[in-house]
């Protein structure tokens, strides 16, 4: 059973399109992280959201933490081929333990 459900699992879009990735759980987390992973490498942190309702922006990426701190979304505006990769969400619980979602594989075609 996956504690964090990510959707969609796969996404293939054209350059310039917008997309949203969702991360949902029935559990409350003290914080939630989004990572991006490229083939053959470890995940790299994009953002951490801590407060319910929090919105953070990183250039064309917008991250939102749900009011109840159970879910989050990642929105990419005008996607570029360089955005291609595996996007992972992770929820922090018991201070320093983390559960990961199964990931969303994004392919942006030029």
């Amino acid at each position: 059973t996956q504690l964090l459900e990510q959707s969609p699992q796969f996404l293939s879009i054209q350059e310039g399109e917008n997309l949203t990735v969702y991360c949902n759980s029935s559990s409350v987390f003290s914080s939630l992280q989004w990572y991006r992973q490229e083939p053959g490498e470890g995940p790299v942190l994009l953002v951490t959201v801590v407060t319910g309702g929090e919105v953070k922006k990183l250039k064309r990426l917008t991250f939102q933490f749900g009011d109840a701190r159970k879910d989050s979304s990642l929105h990419i505006t005008a996607a570029l081929p360089g955005d291609t990769g595996l996007y992972l969400c992770a929820g922090a619980y018991n201070f320093n333990k983390f559960y990961f979602g199964s990931g969303t594989k994004l392919n942006v075609k030029p």
């Binding site: 996956q2 964090l4 990510q6 699992q9 003290s30 914080s31 992280q33 053959g40 490498e41 470890g42 995940p43 790299v44 942190l45 951490t48 801590v50 992972l88 992770a90 922090a92 201070f95 320093n96 333990k97 983390f98 559960y99 990961f100 979602g101 199964s102 990931g103």
Partner: protein
């Protein structure tokens, strides 16, 4: 980039043999983790450490043991490897205070058990 190295980077072994993977950090971070990554499962926590000689189990700890005798090193041992342990293994570290929610990952070890 955080100073985390993993060795070996690739290993092929046979069922029933012992295997030890090493994670080394130069950041002096308190927390260290071992994850495995398999298609469709994301990253799953195997074991983690919250200090020297202090370790605890994660969600998929069966068949694995760990040791941490120094702050900088965290070892993952498969006592008797099985084909179901074929996976990519990642080590991660995190600190205290403001850095507690940030994990830095190593480059991974690809393990194949034949």
């Amino acid at each position: 980039d955080a100073g985390i190295t993993q060795s070996p980077r690739h290993k092929v072994t046979e069922t029933g043999t012992p295997v030890t993977l090493r994670c080394h950090q130069t950041e002096n971070h308190r927390y260290m983790y071992w994850y495995r990554q398999d298609p469709g499962h994301g990253l799953r926590l195997i074991h983690y450490s919250y200090g020297v000689k202090d370790t605890d189990k994660g969600e998929v700890s069966d068949g694995y043991s760990v040791s941490r005798s120094k702050t900088e090193d965290f070892l993952l041992t498969l006592e008797s490897a099985t084909s179901s342990q074929t996976s990519v293994y990642f080590c991660a570290i995190s600190g205290l205070g403001a850095g507690a929610d940030t994990q830095y990952f190593g480059p991974g070890t690809r393990l194949t058990v034949l």
